[in-house]
């Protein structure tokens, strides 16, 4: 199934994190600089394991690569306003999680065009925003939320401390009973017996 890619007709098997395999054309794969560096010249003797990424993500990434096989060679970032209808649909279909997965996979596979479009899309979220507005965008907690969170954590810590103290106290008591030195126990018993004996003899 796999051989050194000299023709776009060659298909490669890709293995995802689920262990599933699927076909990708050599032409699409060659948009990945990582693939070019690893397999282009030597080929692969079985499925190429991109097992850090799930099937859905890899299929999405290679869907992009398959689509842009016939586009002109990539020459630097392209503005989002220049995206084709197909490109727009491609990005619009993704939810946040898929978008993150696609960026990560695209970054690992070193697919310049896709990574660049994704980054431009992120940058647009920050454009013209002040720090407070950026905090909302990058989903960081606000100062108030941090304060509230800290209070909760402090409460939790205090509660945990109390529990720990109580546990330590209990443990100490148990220790007194359970781990009284044997010699002391013997002595105590002996004293009791002696007293008993003395009292008996006195009678």
């Amino acid at each position: 199934m796999t051989s050194p890619a000299s023709s776009s007709e060659v298909k490669y098997l890709i293995e995802s994190s689920e262990g599933n395999t699927f076909d990708v054309s050599g032409a699409a794969l060659r948009q990945s600089n990582t693939f070019n560096a690893m397999f282009l010249n030597i080929g692969a003797d079985g499925p190429i394991p991109f097992t850090d990424y799930n099937e859905a993500t890899l299929k999405k990434v290679f869907e992009y690569c398959e689509h842009s096989v016939n586009e002109e060679n990539y020459s630097g970032p392209k503005h989002q306003d220049d995206l084709s209808k197909w490109d727009l649909n491609f990005f619009n279909e993704m939810d946040q999680k898929m978008f993150i997965d696609v960026i990560n996979a695209s970054n690992f596979l070193d697919i310049e065009r896709l990574t660049s479009y994704c980054c431009e899309r992120i940058a647009r979220m920050l454009r013209g925003k002040n720090t407070q507005e950026m905090i909302k965008v990058i989903t960081l907690p606000t100062a108030e939320e941090l304060e509230a969170k800290q209070k909760v954590e402090e409460k939790k810590a205090a509660a945990a401390k109390k529990v720990a103290e109580k546990a330590a106290e209990t443990a100490e008591k148990t220790e007194t009973l359970e781990e009284l030195p044997v010699q002391q126990l013997v002595q105590t018993t002996r004293n009791k017996l002696t007293r008993k004996y003395l009292s008996f003899s006195n009678e």
């Binding site: 946040q96 993150i100 970054n107 979220m125 960081l140």
Partner: protein, 334 residues
């Protein structure tokens, strides 16, 4: 065509560094600084110098106080303007002329000088700078705080590549503060001064080993002060040096006793004939025929084809050509 649906939020800081780097490349200086203020982690990431283009930093001590951050080839500039008008806080202005984009943001503070100092420090930190590219100072504004501002710059800025000195009122005496600035700020490349120095014995020392020194109101400049100058280019807008003084200066230059780095001197003589008669009278010189054309250094680091001139020769063989043109009288060394 429907634009991409904007993602409302995105955990950018969780992305790989290489991806964040790509995002940074598309951000302007304001966005970079705003981003750095999000959190400690954002600040650490922002401080990685390779994440964005090299910016030129320009501090301006004027009203209003400004911090300018210039992008590559000055195509994009971001200006912070300090304001005491709360209504202006955060307001932005954008201007595009001939492909040059300038974005201005107003920053409100009751104590604009302190706010400016804090922001200067922050900008230096974020852009990993110990030196700044340009410092512009109006010597007769914030007069009472001038020493503390100079001290602040001395403490936080290792050196200044180019320093522009101005004054708003010609009659204001700025000699003392100008002297203090020259003593305490290390200027490495260029000084442009529009100051009206009042004292002929001005005690301020100009930096040594400069590339360019422009003194546009230098009528106060005397012979002794001229000898102190050490710059590749010297442009004097006037001087108080006598013909005898110039004669002595030329002799010292020929003997390699002064201005060894000099490549261009612009003074205010009217004509070559006058200069030959009053200054070069006892100095060997050669009048070059007007038909002889040579490419010589002129102002603004340019070279031009010059016809004729008067040549003198230094003891090491270097030649200086005096040329009189419309508004300048040049001594060009070659």
């Amino acid at each position: 065509m429907e634009p991409p649906r904007p993602l409302k939020s995105f955990p950018i800081l969780r992305l790989p560094f290489l991806v964040i780097k790509e995002v940074f490349k598309t951000m302007n200086p304001f966005e970079i600084i705003n981003f750095s203020m999000i959190s400690k982690r954002a600040k650490t990431i922002t401080k990685k110098k390779t994440f964005y283009l090299e910016y030129a930093i320009h501090f301006c001590v004027q009203k209003p106080l400004e911090i300018k951050i210039h992008g590559t080839n000055n195509l994009v500039s971001g200006h912070y303007l300090m304001t005491s008008d709360k209504q202006k806080d955060g307001k932005t202005l954008e201007d595009e002329r001939d492909g040059f984009i300038t974005r201005k943001v107003f920053k409100y503070s009751m104590d604009s000088i302190d706010e400016w100092k804090q922001l200067c420090k922050y900008v230096l930190e974020i852009f990993n700078k110990q030196t700044i590219d340009v410092l512009t100072v109006f010597m007769d504004v914030f007069v009472d705080q001038k020493i503390s501002i100079i001290d602040f710059l001395k403490t936080n800025v290792k050196s200044v590549n180019e320093c522009n000195l101005f004054q708003l009122g010609e009659n204001n005496n700025v000699d003392e503060h100008a002297k203090y600035l020259l003593e305490n700020i290390k200027i490495t490349n260029k000084v442009i001064s529009w100051l009206h120095i009042k004292n002929g014995d001005f005690a301020g020392k100009f930096p040594k080993n400069l590339k360019e020194l422009y003194l546009l109101h230098s009528e106060w400049m005397g012979y002794e002060k001229l000898l102190e100058i050490d710059s590749v280019q010297v442009i004097l807008g006037g001087n108080g040096i006598s013909n005898m003084g110039w004669n002595s200066f030329i002799k010292k230059w020929i003997a390699m006793e002064t201005h060894l780095n000099l490549e261009l001197l612009d003074i205010d003589f009217k004509s070559l004939e006058q200069f030959r008669a009053l200054v070069l009278y006892d100095i060997p010189h050669e009048v070059v025929d007007g038909s002889v054309k040579r490419v010589l250094k002129t102002t603004d680091n340019e070279t031009e084809e010059i016809s004729g001139g008067v040549d003198i020769r230094r003891i090491d063989g270097k030649t200086a050509t005096f040329v009189a043109r419309d508004f300048e009288f040049l001594m060009s060394v070659h």
